[in-house]
């Protein structure tokens, strides 16, 4: 029967999983790496750096996307008055919550309780929009 080399590779991959399946096996993996001349702490440091850069980029990207959603919601609002205030607050809360779920949306909606028509009129400029986000985030966090 011809030998399937991929079968061997798969077998060794599964064997690795089996040999390192318990949290305690981390100690052994570290030991094997040190024995092989690997600088484990330096490797962990470099890897953590990659994750930190990723998280920083992601935070910035999420903030940009949120601001964009908020800007769209405010720009869509025609400013006709009290009658549409509830609807725009709902849209702003959705823009702030993004896809973080109903609970986060409700929290933002509650934070917007005291927002008046005059407050929304001033949100046409980016600086005011940013200031508004900071104020909403700070509300209830003190």
């Amino acid at each position: 029967m011809p030998v399937d080399r991929n079968e061997h590779v798969e077998f060794f991959a599964q064997l690795y999983e089996a040999l390192t399946s318990a949290p305690k096996d981390e100690v052994f993996v570290r030991e094997v790496l040190v024995e092989s001349g690997v600088d484990v702490d330096a490797t962990l440091g470099k890897g953590m750096g990659l994750f930190a850069d990723f998280k920083k980029r992601r935070r910035l990207q999420l903030s940009r996307e949120r601001l964009e959603r908020l800007r769209e919601a405010v720009n869509r609002w025609s400013g006709v008055g009290e009658g549409t205030l509830g609807a725009i607050k709902e849209q702003i809360a959705r823009a702030l919550a993004g896809d973080q779920g109903q609970l986060v949306y409700q929290t933002y909606y509650r934070k917007l309780e005291r927002v008046e028509v005059a407050d929304l009129e001033s949100l046409r400029e980016d600086a005011a929009l940013l200031e508004f986000v900071v104020r909403v985030e700070a509300d209830g966090s003190e």
Partner: protein, 206 residues
């Protein structure tokens, strides 16, 4: 070890799901993941490229750089081919990236490089002495069942063989192995270490 995903109102696409999984990793989970991937890369090199001089792959890749390259490619969005049905956890996906870089890029390049080394030096000496051949050796030319038998033959103690048999049968959690074999979990831990070293030795032809 695997982070939980936050509940969402809309089903996220794979890219979003991947980014959220990474974002939710705690520092300890990140460290465990890096260590696991480096160990995995080391095991792959030891078992599949045991013929490499000093275990160093082309472009200076070794176990840490291979593990970090896989992480970097996923974080930089150069890899977005996660199939959660095939790799149900982030760790499993990252390992598949390590394996793919290793077997489809580095291993073929290493074999090509070795084939290009002149076999003799200026004075006719053998330049390849001490370097094992990447060609399949006697342990590569056996079927999977024969390979398992050879591994079992490496151990004389019944306890060691029992643990290995459990692993062959996909009984891998220490608690399950303890239940099947009646062995103390500390003993199982020691036997697993012994198996790792013996597997690596066997691949080296020892």
């Amino acid at each position: 070890m695997e982070p939980h995903l936050r509940s969402t109102t809309v089903a996220p696409d794979i890219g979003q799901r991947l980014e959220r999984s990474i974002d939710a990793l705690t520092d300890d989970e990140q460290k465990a993941l890096i260590l696991d991937l480096t160990g995995y890369a080391r095991f792959l090199i030891q078992t599949e490229a045991h013929w490499l001089p000093r275990g160093v792959l082309p472009r200076g890749f070794d176990a840490p750089t291979l593990a970090l390259e896989a992480i970097a490619r996923v974080l930089d969005r150069r890899r977005r081919d996660w199939d959660p049905a095939k790799e149900p956890t982030l760790a499993a996906y990252l390992k598949s990236v390590v394996k793919s870089i290793f077997s489809s890029e580095l291993l073929p390049a290493a074999k090509r490089e070795l084939a290009e080394i002149p076999t003799t030096d200026d004075v006719g000496g053998d330049r390849t002495s001490g370097i094992a051949s990447p060609d399949p050796g006697p342990h590569d030319m056996v079927t999977l069942n024969e390979l398992k038998d050879r591994l079992l033959e490496c151990f004389e103690r019944e306890e060691d063989q029992l643990v290995l048999l459990c692993i062959f049968e996909n009984v891998t959690a220490p608690a399950e192995i303890a239940q099947v074999t009646g062995l103390d979990p500390r003993e199982i831990y020691r036997i697993k270490q012994k198996i790792w070293r013996r597997v690596v030795g066997l691949r080296k032809g020892e």
